[in-house]
Symmetry: C2
Subunit: 598 residues, 2 copies
């Protein structure tokens, strides 16, 4: 009968993101941040009605959303075109135009921490007057005045949570992604005590919630490979391990007061899991979830659980747990492409240079589309992981015939604390050799022919892409770098101020480690970067600044390497605007198609 | 506490339209046409899930949507940027890219009429080879072949409906908006009989549905001021008036086979109503509706009623009738503006020059916003009416302080057949004097001061705006014409081909009525068009072509009248793209603000 055309590139790009959400106290409304109308805006959805309506035309991505319990306003955090200088904005409860309440006309960061139960006091952290270590304040929304809570010292210091009576604040000092120490500050006495057993022990303290004014739960990996949950009694200082998993790491906790129910989110390799723990339970009960990876969980006053997440073939969606069944509240999907037409990755393992096993995702193009070419994708972070989370870009390229290989090289999260630390002060050696082992494994298993490989990565993945392009050019037909670090020396000096205290432990010291940083900087290998390249950069990127891309593009052009450079004027470290996203992915696809073996 | 800014212009423009919808046979999916992501596209909504997902990225408004009962495809009609050359496109059932099945690469019109029960034969009307009178065909979707059903003669001829066994077709010959004759064509014999009692009697035959292969219902106003419903038996030719209202006109009928239930939509002045009529009922039962005006009604196989419509302060939304309660399926609203902050118009009546009463909508700005200025809005059509249907433009201007007065001058629908005919061959006299009486009434009742009036209108309303500007310049501070006819002679020759047969009765004959057409052409009064003007035109407009605006703007400029001209390159007789809509309304508002008394 009617013969329809095959899915086109554009179909994959017409997928919408959801980056944040909040539920009103009475659960009558869900607010969420999505680019449904092309730009990131805040949308509302009345429940049980589920049709979305525009709530605030911010045209900027949102760092948090919080609804006032008295239904007078809604708070949100917004930067400007990706510059990460977040302001805190209040909106009328019914929606409409907002008013900046913190950060107006300032190039500073304002991070939301907590809102008092009565909705009148806002706890926040700011870079203002302490760009490296940050300060904490409480802002009185009625008096429009801020009161200082602490002045950060030694390390960037964040508010994790505030007790309901507001007498206690949990602070986290961040020395590195793998070294975070928790403190309990008593506002009545001004004194702080360390919640970690040994502040000098390299460990993580990640999350805390008060379950009463006397007791709190926190997530730490002190003396363990994986994060676990500690229950801490304030006056007695008694601590007990409430919940620990053998090979899963706790990434989030949510508490429902009335039923004393704890919801626990864990990660293991490329997937996330949810558990429920009630007083009568001896161990956490697994709650099956329709999502492979979980971006955000909220528990409503009535005890309903709302989850935002993704699957390998499912874009961002929000679900609600009703008893033991999940109800899908949003319905993002890929235009006219079924899950069966997409590729669910195989989780594979390969041995690397030092005998360790490296886990990777292998997206094999469907036989009828397969063009025999493979894209090697080193993920960003580097202390993150490539997981079962939908990427329109991946599924689009796969549909065009490319297979994709994404290894979780050393430094990746989800494989224990030791593994995560392995990238620290070793950006370019161990992880690179893991990548090389992955590439050789692709060849030796016949998954890819030697002359059919591309490399593509963003952020740290862009750095690794450039490094591989310089040190192992023979592997690749073409190289695509998205806001990658090209020079570790300039990178260390150009990151956001509050990253600087952690750079030494994370990357290295420019004086002490000069030789290593030189060896690990892609720009060192300019002369061997001979393969066709495409470089993409957001002009406002505060993490990997434009100079990182400018310098290597300039040098490459000078030496005659074929290089194409795309700068997005209104983006930062990522692409929040639909038209930019489409422009970037089309550009990459064009590059791939040009350099594919015919 | 937090003082929020007042609503801004942009908030009103961030309102989405819905222009069409269809329900799948199993009622699992609603498809609808909306500009939710900025351009008109087809979106899907799974039921009971109600979150919308992009179904087809057409980027064009949609003239119809129809789902194949076998779930193999979906049909839709689309033109190109408002040129009204509609193609018929098939989409995969799951959505995605479509295939043009009728009208590919042709500048012709293809109108959908009906789809056979088995989804294999598509009945349509086309301008191809018969641009004035149109031809009817049935297209076999399997064989991909069309078979001619009739060749239009004497008047543009449309298919109203097809019987379930496909033996009968109801055709409508359209001599004018007020003169439409129905015929029943028997495909087995090739013979047609007239369904109207007297084809020569000036009357309307508007809608027909087969309730069995032997019986049909149709809507006519033969011998009546208002449309009523006739039940007609084919073999006996017996006709009976099934349902007639004393001062409401039937505008639509929908039939539910299993329960033999008829749903009736009527209009009365500025509002619409819905009734249900079942076999046991002696008269139709009113079904209260949350919408003031109804754009489309569909009854599902299971008997559920879906309605698309608007309210004075409610944008386009779709509701479903469950037993006797309405469930809102979509939730379009004005960003951050409550219904209370908008203005519900008062329905007023004023006496006109010949003693008739004219009904009008009076939108009085809220006292705290009122700037004392009034916008006089002659509606388009002219055989249409200004009704309680949300217009973002109105509510925005009202919010800025302007009150709006919209009279349903003679020629308007909703006030009986005689009243509707009064504009025919009298475009510029009677309706204009009704407008003048309305203006004087505004002054005499103190609703508007003499030097505080603007005039703004589109299409026929643009024509009336220009005519008033030329003949009564003393009334206005400023004049805004949106694709209005400036010259009746050129207009008569430039309308779409299938309009031409009706032009004589509607407007007049250029030879016979030369004097009157001259008198009623705005361009005749150029020299007195002295007030500041703004003219807006869509470049692809096939109804009021760009030349209509070009000629008057050119002449006005030449004589030194202050005139601003905005042409939208990718629009026709209306604005389907969000960014264009915003540009137009901002332009108008700027014009108003510039010429407001300070």
């Amino acid at each position: 009968m009617i013969r329809f055309p095959k899915p086109t590139v554009e179909q994959f790009f017409q997928t919408y993101n959801i980056t944040n959400f909040t539920i009103s106290d009475d659960e009558s409304r869900l607010l969420f941040s999505t680019n449904l109308n092309g730009k990131m805006n805040v949308w509302g959805m009345d429940l049980p009605q589920r049709y979305p309506y525009l709530f605030a035309n911010t045209e900027q991505a949102c760092s948090f959303l919080k609804t006032d319990p008295n239904k007078k306003y809604v708070l949100g955090g917004f930067d400007t075109d990706g510059d990460e200088n977040y302001k805190i904005v209040a909106f009328p409860y019914a929606g409409g135009n907002g008013k900046v309440i913190l950060g107006e006309n300032k190039k500073e960061k304002y991070y939301y921490a907590s809102l008092s139960e009565d909705g009148k006091r806002l706890y926040y952290i700011t870079s203002e007057e302490n760009p490296q270590f940050l300060n904490g304040f409480v802002y009185d929304l009625e008096k429009e005045q801020s009161e200082n809570l602490y002045t950060g010292e030694n390390a960037p210091t964040f508010i994790s949570t505030v007790s309901q009576n507001e007498n206690y604040i949990v602070l986290i000092q961040m020395f590195a992604n793998t070294y975070k120490v928790g403190y309990l500050k008593d506002r009545t006495t001004g004194k702080s005590i360390c919640l970690s057993q040994d502040a000098k022990d390299i460990h993580e303290f990640n999350d805390a919630i008060f379950i009463s004014d006397e007791e709190l739960l926190f997530v730490t990996n002190e003396q363990s490979e994986y994060n676990y949950i500690v229950k801490y009694h304030i006056s007695t200082k008694k601590r007990e391990v409430l919940c620990q998993f053998s090979d899963e790491s706790v990434t989030g906790i949510q508490w429902h007061k009335d039923t004393k129910t704890l919801y626990i989110i864990t990660e293991k390799g490329v997937e996330d899991y949810i558990y429920r723990l009630q007083e009568e339970d001896t161990e956490p009960v697994s709650v099956g979830c329709p999502l492979d990876t979980i971006d955000m969980v909220k528990v409503s006053n009535s005890g309903n659980v709302y989850v935002l997440g993704r699957g390998a073939t499912q874009p961002f969606n929000i679900y609600r747990l009703n008893d033991d069944s999940w109800e899908q509240l949003t319905d993002n999907r890929v235009l006219g492409v079924t899950k069966e037409q997409m590729v669910d990755p195989e989780v594979v393992t390969y041995p690397t240079f030092d005998g360790k096993d490296i886990e990777a995702l292998w997206f094999k193009a469907h036989p009828e589309q397969d063009n025999g070419h493979v894209i090697f994708w080193p993920h960003g972070g580097p202390q993150a992981a490539e997981r079962k989370m939908f990427r329109a870009m991946f599924q689009c390229f796969i549909n065009r015939g490319y297979s994709i290989f994404a290894p979780n090289f050393r430094g990746s999260t989800g494989y224990g604390a030791t593994f995560k630390k392995l990238v620290e002060q070793d950006w370019g050696e161990g992880p690179r050799l893991d990548c090389v082992a992955g590439i050789e494994w692709l060849f030796s298993t016949g998954k890819c022919k030697r002359d059919r490989l591309f490399v593509l990565g963003g952020s740290y993945g862009g750095y690794m892409t450039l490094l591989l392009a310089g040190r192992h050019p023979e592997y690749f037909r073409g190289v695509i770098d998205i806001f990658g670090v090209s020079n570790l020396f300039t990178f260390i000096n150009s990151v956001p101020e509050h990253w600087k205290p952690i750079m030494e432990r994370w990357v290295g010291d420019p004086e002490r480690d000069k030789e290593r940083l030189e060896k690990d900087s892609p720009i060192t290998y300019l002369s061997t970067m001979t393969k066709p390249m495409l470089v993409i950069q957001g002009a406002n990127d505060p993490r990997v600044v434009k100079e990182e891309s400018d310098q290597i593009v300039h040098a490459l052009k000078k030496q005659g390497t074929e290089v194409d450079y795309l700068v997005l004027e209104d983006e930062g470290h990522g692409f929040s605007k639909k038209e930019n996203e489409i422009a970037v992915y089309k550009k990459i696809l064009d590059f791939l198609q040009t350099h594919t073996s015919k």
